[in-house]
């Protein structure tokens, strides 16, 4: 691996010098330094670092505000928060906003270099999740549709979901949290949903609410079954699902701009059901 390019954000000249020394001794290249919010983005865009170390306490700003600005400027920015405080909630918020690592002051050089190495090396557990999740979610959908309606299901994979997807009518979104957080999107037409309700209840649906409730329940079961299958594969995933949010519109688009969604179409007797799943890469150093 070539030397990691690091940018240091710290208001203290002494701290920057000390940190630069540690990084250089460890084989990293210090490509930029910023001492305030004002010079942050410009320095980042000029030096294009692999890693940013971010002091949490700075006059007139703080590491969170600077990190938010950096992540807004480049969502793939890899930031390590440096703080003398060690409290769970600071760590938790850092993780939620997408900060890649957290180290405590005084900095242990070896620990910091390890974190940099972890952040920059491929996360095999994540790669495995991305590889296996679509198949497992498809299996969960297919199992449930087949079991509930005694009809077959086949899949057609959609290569991309890079831009937006136009809903067929009813969209369900389920959030997933755990070692990696993610989203599941299930989308089908009202007609397809009505047909499924009719098979399940042996009568036509009474109203629209009944149809939406069935779709929510179906999505809930699929996400729950798929996540427990993934947790069985590796229990450190610790995936948990949120209850479903259901959206209904005759012509709406769905987008997931900061998370790549892998999608497929389940071909069923009732029409096609769109199933999309995506997971966000986690923070290397919290593991």
């Amino acid at each position: 691996m070539s030397a990691a390019k690091v940018m240091i954000v710290d208001d203290s000249f002494f701290s920057r010098t000390l940190l630069a020394e540690t990084l250089q001794l460890g084989g990293c290249e210090v490509v930029g330094e910023a001492d305030s919010f004002d010079s942050l983005i410009e320095t980042y865009n000029n030096c294009k670092p692999d890693i940013v170390t971010m002091d949490i306490v700075m006059p007139g700003t703080d590491g969170f505000e600077c990190s938010r600005a950096l992540l807004m400027n480049d969502p793939s920015a890899k930031i390590i928060l440096v703080s003398s405080m060690k409290d769970e909630e600071t760590e938790a918020e850092a993780r939620r906003i997408g900060i890649a690592g957290y180290v405590q002051k005084p900095i242990d050089g070896e620990y910091l270099l390890n974190i940099i190495k972890n952040i920059l090396s491929p996360d095999t557990l994540y790669e495995e999740l991305i590889e296996s999740a679509p198949g497992i979610f498809n299996e969960a959908l297919s199992q449930n549709i087949t079991r509930m309606t005694k009809t077959p299901v086949s899949f057609e994979s959609m290569d991309t979901f890079d831009d937006t997807y136009v809903s067929q009518g009813i969209t369900t979104v389920i959030g997933i949290i755990g070692r990696y957080s993610g989203s599941m999107i299930l989308d089908l037409s009202s007609e397809a949903a009505e047909q499924i309700v009719e098979i399940l209840l042996h009568r036509p649906s009474k109203n629209h609410e009944e149809v939406l409730a069935m779709v929510a329940e179906l999505a809930n079961i699929i996400a729950g079954v798929a996540c427990s299958m993934l947790n069985k594969k590796d229990k450190s995933y610790s995936l948990r699902v949120s209850p479903p949010s259901v959206f209904f519109s005759s012509n709406s688009e769905i987008a997931s701009p900061n998370l790549k969604i892998q999608a497929s179409y389940a071909q069923t007797t009732f029409g096609s059901i769109f199933l999309g799943i995506g997971f966000k890469k986690g923070a290397a150093s919290w593991i």
Binding site: L71, R96, S181, L212, P243, S245, F247, S249, N258
Partner: protein
């Protein structure tokens, strides 16, 4: 649903938006509504899991979303609600909700986590949150109207 559950989110809006380029954050209305609500324009869905479960929706008209994204990108003109503008709005949602979890922990509700944002863009749409009631709150952010819906339930045990 306990109406006080809205406070951490309000604090988060007031805390975060000034950090991403906005001068004034005013809270307008606050009401308790049913679990199904209408939307027109852009809606960001962020799910929450923990001792509270459910979702937070942040909605605005398409024009407001373009104006909002433009302000976030330091005044860069936004004529289409393209992937860059979509990314800005969803990042805002992510940061506000991430900070809301921190605000929740300050009142003793710990360990909440959020899922990545999903965006819906459409007209005359309807959203149903997995709760009996939803808290709706309106903000005026530098003159841009934002509707936020919070549908959370306490999970026992």
């Amino acid at each position: 649903m306990d109406i006080n559950l809205i406070n951490p989110l309000i604090l988060s809006f007031i805390d975060i938006l000034p950090q991403i380029g906005f001068q004034s954050v005013e809270r307008k209305g606050l009401s308790l509504v049913a679990s199904t609500l209408d939307y027109d324009g852009v809606l960001v869905n962020i799910s929450l899991v923990g001792v509270l479960k459910g979702a937070i929706l942040i909605g605005m008209s398409l024009d407001s979303a373009k104006e909002f994204a433009s302000k976030m990108m330091m005044g860069m003109p936004v004529t289409d609600f393209d992937s860059l503008a979509q990314s800005a709005i969803s990042e805002m949602g992510n940061m506000v909700c991430a900070n809301a979890c921190t605000q929740f922990s300050k009142v003793g509700i710990d360990g909440l986590d959020i899922s990545p944002p999903v965006l819906l863009i459409g007209h005359n749409g309807q959203a149903t949150l997995p709760v009996p009631q939803t808290i709706a709150v309106q903000f005026l952010v530098d003159g841009i109207e934002i509707n936020v819906y919070v549908g959370l339930i306490e999970v026992n045990g």
